[in-house]
Amino acid sequence: MRKLFLKSIKSSTRNKFSTYIMVIAFFSIAAILVEAGILGSLFKGLLVPMCYYIILAVSLNLTVGILGELSLGHAGFMCVGAYVGGVFSILTKDIITSALIRFPLALVVGGLAAGLFGILIGIPILRLKGDYLAIVTLAFGEIIKKLVQNIYIIKDVTGFHFSFATSIDTSTIDSESKQVILNGPMSISGIPKNANIVIGVILVLITLFVIMNLVDSRSGRAFMAIRDNRIVAEGIGINITKYKLIVFSFSAFFAGVAGSLFAHFSTVDPTKFDYNLSILILVFVVLGGIGNIRGSVIAAVILYALPELLRSFQNYRMLIYAIVLIVMMILNNNEKFLRFKERFTFKRLFAKKHAKEDA
């Protein structure tokens, strides 16, 4: 009995470690190749986005794959994180001068804000299922986008000026000291661009650590039980409300962190966080394998990088992208390929060694 327990721990730990190693190895090699000039600057610019897309895909997989609820509003949570994290950095730039302290705080603040939205949105939609949940989360994403397009915040010596309209009344603002923080549909300016590949990879690893450990624990079993049969899960004494809210808040938190990372890397333009982005992340999750965390990582990297790298093919770009999508879809449902893939995973390589030791 003891042996079996130890074995089960080993196999799940092995699985996790192989995922961490995969991420570290991929990004180290990519960074080295970029430094050595083998991969061009185009590729270099893709590394940080890969990190936030991985975080987005993994966190969405928690909701879609592990809890089994279809969410189409992930971009909305990312948007909350980007805005709150970005504004936090702008406001604290003069107070907390060290980026080493300010940036991690901005990431956490962005995540917490999004997590709060996750809970706020989660409570009214707890009873919804399937299509209805998809519709509500979709609407949430669109509403958030519209909201941030209409917020104006200007700071001057007299304090903050808020406006929630199509424009802001500038007559009362002291033009000498004015600093525009949010300017409606215009993109945010003045966020320090602190993001880099090292912090990106660290965030990916933290996300993987938290989500994979959560899934492989008492709570994770509750999530999956709810996914497999909600009525039975309830009948077995599982608090559905509690565990759904845990998932919604964690999923939104990490989307917010990804958003904040994004805000400190590229221009925050509210139109970016639209329906298409939510769908794109969902595509990563579906093609990487529903409920398969490592699959989400791989799919996010390949499917994000591909269309970017194919830019030189211009018109054929989306055609090739579509073909890759279809091929991945077919392969993911192909028994033979899945068995082939099994043979080449770290898990199996390690497993063989251990099998000998056990014998």
């Binding site: 079996l4 089960s8 008492r218 309830e234 009948g235 077995i236 845990i246």
Partner: protein, 252 residues
């Protein structure tokens, strides 16, 4: 005092009176049968007892505590666990994990301890694994603990459902047609297992069954439902000889 006291339980779906004025009481450690022709309302009684449906009227008392109107989660926590007529396992989870979900409220640690792998995680997981494997062993399932539950053969899936229900540490176990789809040998084995569970875990069992050999073989008391109303209840041998019961089953 009886363990379970059901008084004048009624429920109607639209115009259909699915259960009317159903009253029985089950003693501690008793094996009680619930029989009746198809569509008589037996499964509906289970759904009422477990809080899936709310009764239109009537009361259910477990251990002196009123439970009608409570949620399925609360009712499970107060001590009723069940299996389902058509098997409902967590099919994408392993056999072991199905049982560990059943242990959810028995052996606990927080999500936080789980994420950061604090000592309580290791301690409680170890306990859970031991307890789950011990339960699986009762049903000869311990060697399949790593399999996906949907890959088990039918008979073993039924057993796993019982293990999962037992894991919640009930005072009363409800079995909905546990012998359905089993051959006579398997049924005979199941009868022994049910008696063993009752003695080993010291619980009461209420079971729905169409197989009269099983009912007469192990149930001490039986209640008969027909078209939602209770035809009779009492000592198994007497009830099964009752001409009204025979007519209800065979028809005029």
């Amino acid at each position: 005092m009886a363990l379970l006291e059901i008084k004048d339980l009624c429920i109607s779906f639209g115009g259909l009176q699915a259960v009317q004025n159903f009253s029985i009481s089950i003693e501690q450690n008793q094996l009680y049968g619930l029989i009746g022709p198809n569509g008589a309302g037996k499964t509906t009684v289970f759904n009422l007892l477990t809080g899936v449906y709310k009764p239109t009227s009537g009361s259910i008392t477990l251990d002196g505590q009123g439970i009608s109107g409570k949620s399925p989660m609360e009712i499970n926590k107060s001590g009723i666990a069940r299996t389902y007529q058509n098997i409902r396992l967590f099919s994408n989870m392993s056999v072991l994990d199905n049982v560990k979900v059943g242990l959810h409220n028995q052996i606990k640690y927080s999500a936080f301890s789980g994420i950061f792998r604090l000592p309580s995680y290791w301690k409680q997981e170890k306990l859970m694994n031991e307890r789950a494997l011990k339960l699986l062993k009762v049903f000869d399932l311990e060697h399949q603990s790593k399999n996906l539950s949907c890959n088990l053969p039918y008979g073993k899936q039924r057993k796993l459902e019982i293990v999962r229900a037992l894991a919640t540490n009930p005072k009363l176990l409800l079995l909905d047609e546990p012998a359905a789809g089993m051959n006579p040998n398997e049924t005979a084995e199941l009868m022994n297992t049910i008696k063993f569970i009752r003695d080993e875990f010291n619980i009461a069992i209420l079971l729905i069954e169409h197989d009269m050999r099983l009912v007469s073989g192990i149930c001490e008391q039986v209640a008969v439902l027909n078209f939602g109303s209770e035809l009779t209840h009492g000592n198994t041998n007497e009830v099964l000889k009752d001409p009204r019961v025979i007519t209800a089953y065979l028809g005029e």
